[in-house]
Symmetry: C2
Subunit: 230 residues, 2 copies
Amino acid sequence: PPGRKVLIVYAHQEPKSLNGSLKRVAVEELSKQGCSVTVSDLYAMQFEPRATRNDIVGCLHNSEEFSYGTETWEAYKRGCLSNDLIEEQKKVQEADLLIFQFPLYWFSMPAIMKGWMDRVLVQGFAHEFPNCYDSGLLKNKLALFSFTTGGSKEMYAKGGISGDIRYLLWPIQHGIMHFCGVKVLAPQICFAPEYVSEEKRKEMLIAWAQRLKTLWKEEPINCSPEWYFK
Amino acid sequence: PPGRKVLIVYAHQEPKSLNGSLKRVAVEELSKQGCSVTVSDLYAMQFEPRATRNDIVGCLHNSEEFSYGTETWEAYKRGCLSNDLIEEQKKVQEADLLIFQFPLYWFSMPAIMKGWMDRVLVQGFAHEFPNCYDSGLLKNKLALFSFTTGGSKEMYAKGGISGDIRYLLWPIQHGIMHFCGVKVLAPQICFAPEYVSEEKRKEMLIAWAQRLKTLWKEEPINCSPEWYFK
C-alpha cells in the first residue's frame, strides 16, 4: 500500500540473470502499489563481507584483544561504525519489509549476503539481550527470502537427497530474522531455473509478480521448530 | 599418525581469542603426532569472500551472461581459476582431514569462511553431477567443525529457544561437506566461552587437545536427517 517502505537486498553478479529479473519485478510491482523501494545491490556496491577492525572508526574499546561483537556494539552506541554500515542500518530502520533476493549457494546465502547479516545486524541495533527473538529490536518488520536453487524440487523434498528445503531455512529465518524480532513471510523459491525452459522461467516471474499483489495481506509463518522439521 | 595431512581453515581476527588458542592447540597436538599441518588463516590472508568474475583468469565461457557456477566450472577444467583458489584447492586435495575453526556468526560460519566454501569448492573439483553426496569428488577425506557460540548450551538444546545445535549443522555438514563426499566427524563445540571463567576456558582447550589424541580412531557421524532432527 502507498507509503510502505521496502528494502531489497540483492546478491547476483548478472543483471540478466533470473535473480536480476526477480529483483526488477519486485521493484516494479511494489512501486506500482505506491511503496517506496530501495535496493542494496551488493555486488554492484562491492559490499565488504569481512567482519574486521575497519568497521570501527577511531579507537577501540579494548585494543588489547579484539572482539568483533563487543567492538561493533560499543561503536554502534558511540556512533562510530563505518559509513557503509550506518547507511545499511538506516535503510533497515526505515523499511517495513526486507526482501532478500539471491541464488542459493551451499544450502545458504552467498558470502557477500552473509557478510551483510554479520556486519549490519549488530548488537544494540538489531538485538540487545534480553531483546532477542520475539522482543528483538527489529520487531514490527517483515522479511521474505526469495531465492533460486541448483537442485530440483524433488531433491529438496522430505526424504529427498538434499532434505526438506525448510531444513536449510532454519538458520536464516529463525537464527537471523526471528532472533532480531523480524516476522517472516513464506519464502519464494524458484527451483532449478537453469534446467527448465524459457517459458517456465517466465512463469516463475509471473508467479512472483502475482504474489506481490497481495503480499501485504499475508500472515507471517509460525516460526517454530514444527514449521521447519515437522 | 605420521604422514597424515591436515588443513585447518581458521576464521578469527584475534590471535589471543579462544578460537586462536583452539587453532594453536590443534597445530601443536597434530604436529606432535607426526601429522603435517597447514593453516589457512583467512583474516590474515585477507581472503576474498565475494564470488565474482575476478575468479576467472582470461576470457569467459559466456561473456554475454555471467553465471558464476558455469564459469568457475569451465575455468577449473581449463586451469584458469585465480591463483588464490588454485592454492586453496591444492591444500584441500592434499589433506586427509579438514578442520574448520570459527566463532558461530548468525547460526553459521562467518562470511569470510562461507566465501571460502563458495569459491574453493567449485564444480569439477569438489563435485560434478552425478558425483555428489556419497560419490562426491572429495571422498576419502574427513571434516570437523570446531566452533564457539555466543548462546549457552541450554539455549541450543532441543526445546531451547535457539533449537538443537544440530539443526544449524545441517546446511554446513550435510549441504556442503557431505555433498562433496567428505565424511564428517562429530563437531567440537565450546558454548558461550565469553560468559565462563578463565578456568573453564582452559578446560575447553584441554578437552580439545585430549580429543585430538584419539581423533584418528573416531568413526564419522551418520550424516542422515535422523542425526540432525531425530
